[in-house]
Symmetry: C3
Subunit: 287 residues, 3 copies
């Protein structure tokens, strides 16, 4: 019986990236749908629920993609609400690569280290990857700060995290160089940069001089990178006495995590692989 992955996303063209990755993860057949509207979800999910019975049901699963993460989250809620009881299939959420990227970013930082009690800042952290990374770092035991150029935006995100994930993150505003200096001076050990591609967040003279700073990771693959003096291929590279992780090192791990999570989907019919579960799969994968 073929392992079939139903790929749903709101973007008009279902992602090539996600489909190729699914095949490389051992999926026999992707059935892709772009331009999925909320009201179309029920019928599509019924098609997954009612075609295979009993133990065979685990050979069908659903992947939720698309570049717009909030829209994809609505699709996710609708899908989960369509299931009843045991009549369900496993679901993985990775809209815009947010879950696998956040998992890769935090695993790079956490691998082989004890993060309990460390102070971490997620710079430009109000996007999907930043939010997920902040929560994962907090769950690893860090005290986490999340920055935005606009304080109200950071506060809103942190409040939302508190309400939905029972995790406390401290919002901070970083509108200029002075703000960066100020937050690093609080004894930050870890800086995770989640900014817009091509926008520099940390000057080299600033991060090099931050005495408490141990680890810097950056998901920006487009020069100028988020961290001056970093290279995209940096993979635990020591520069200025700090350990650096660049976008390609993180991206390579992301691909492995993505494939591992897709593979995991077909082990039973009741998995819901959101970012916390994908992070766990990533950690197990290393062992």
């Amino acid at each position: 019986m073929k392992k079939i992955l139903i790929h749903l996303e709101a973007d008009s063209k279902a992602s090539v990236f996600d489909q190729i990755t699914a095949y490389d993860a051992g999926v026999d057949q992707v059935i892709p749908y772009g331009g999925v509207e909320l009201e179309e979800v029920t019928n599509l999910v019924y098609g997954a629920m009612f075609t295979r019975g009993g133990d065979n049901l685990k050979n069908s699963a659903i992947f939720i993609g698309g570049t717009n993460v909030p829209t994809a989250e609505k699709l996710m809620q609708k899908i989960l609400a369509t299931f009843f009881g045991d009549v369900r299939v496993s679901v993985m959420f990775d809209a815009n690569g947010s879950n696998t990227t956040a998992a890769a970013l935090v695993r790079k930082i956490a691998y082989g280290r004890d993060l309990k009690g460390k102070k971490a800042v997620v710079l430009a952290g109000t996007g999907p990857v930043g939010i997920r990374a902040a929560i994962l770092l907090a769950k690893e035991g860090c005290e986490v700060f999340l920055s935005s150029r606009i304080l109200a935006r950071a506060e809103e995100v942190c409040k939302h995290i508190q309400e939905n994930n029972k995790v406390t993150i401290t919002p901070v505003q970083i509108a200029g160089e002075k703000d960066v200096q100020e937050i690093l001076d609080r004894g930050i050990n870890i800086a995770a940069c989640c900014g817009t591609p091509g926008v520099q967040l940390l000057d080299q003279k600033v991060w090099a001089a931050a005495s408490s700073l141990e680890i810097i990771a950056d998901i920006n693959a487009v020069y100028p990178l988020g961290v001056e003096g970093m290279k995209v291929t940096d993979n635990a590279k020591e520069r200025e006495g700090k350990i650096l992780y660049g976008a390609i090192a993180i991206g390579n791990l992301k691909m492995k995590i993505h494939r591992s999570a897709v593979h995991n989907l077909f082990e039973s019919n009741n998995k819901v692989l959101d970012f916390v579960e994908i992070y766990k799969i990533a950690a197990q994968m290393e062992g």
Copy 2:
């Protein structure tokens, strides 16, 4: 050479249900198209006709789906008109599951029994499944009545059946309890219920008291079912001295018939699997 099924339907998203079922029937690759317009059919069918020659042509076939049955019938006509001579591929019609559901409904009733001379009523029979079930029951030798809340609607459907299928069905109006009683009192042996999900058609006290009634089948899977006192899982279950078939028992057989018909498609390049042929495949499958 891969067995390729070209799935065409007018609905915007090609059915997940039909695609998974096709793979489970042994199809190597479904090429699905949703939102198919009549004027796009010719080119799509040419692609099936002109890519594989001679005996290899049987490895390509066309499936017609979609929730709107009349629209799908127009696609079917256009497809069949596009072929010329031996340059054709096999075609299966199962818009909204109508053919496989009607075949399963009537096979449940007919299996192991001689229906010649039996009186059958198809309740709420003016939809695609009801029409097909009525014709199949008539072909099995039953005297068939087809009901609607509106007599003119039943009459129109029966006239259409007479013209297109050379089969005589008697239209009856069932607007209330008294009408049900009256039709059952004509010596009805078989009641096939094809009503809207969640709408009860037969009260238990009525069907239990109908002395000639032997078999009741119902395709409604949403409670309240079409038949009070039935369970969806009833599979030749005896209740009140009658044999009952519920929606899940019929649905399970429908799945087997669907897979068997798809498998059958690839035996030659000239099959046209509409409901009569699918019913034959269903009967052969049992043997």
Copy 3:
């Protein structure tokens, strides 16, 4: 690792023909996209570029189809511009079958013969197949004439060919019988007919009487054919002392060339199979 072909075209429904042919060429999975807009190309191509690394990258490739050739050429330019350095996948262009048809047409004419110094006319040659055939015949060493009913159109096409392909083709006007006679009287040895289906270009009495004429080929499969007295199945058939190639003979070779080119795509990650390269593959295939 599966061989994956990403099929892109501007037509709303991705071609059945091209997809079946791809599977028959050994592709494991086609990922088809119809209705592709120029601004969607980058993301789709990134999905091909960034999912498989190193030597594995050759297992992903892109096919450009669609009935509108100029639109497809714009997609091609956008795709090639998206690659950077070695991070690329192989690409095949065959919008409206133009490249494989032109290659088949000219291979039929060239196979086993030396065309150097021959005079060839491409009749009704301003469409995609005619333009490509004219260039290929010129590259085989022919002196080539290209006709249109409107001289300005032929001149425009030949100027475009000169600018883009550094090949000289002589434009000629053929508005009636007298013009045909006049061009054949220039000592034409080869006539390649690329006219609209169902439109006759050469009367039998005219071509039969043309003493220098040796070979006639015609891609029109709809009667009346472009060449009176020809049959679509003519495959080096001698009639009136001339060698004739009809649309089905050319079409059968086109299918082989198409499959061979798709197969060739996956040998490395840096192929760009436009008509000249496809013609070379066709010639090698014969050896």
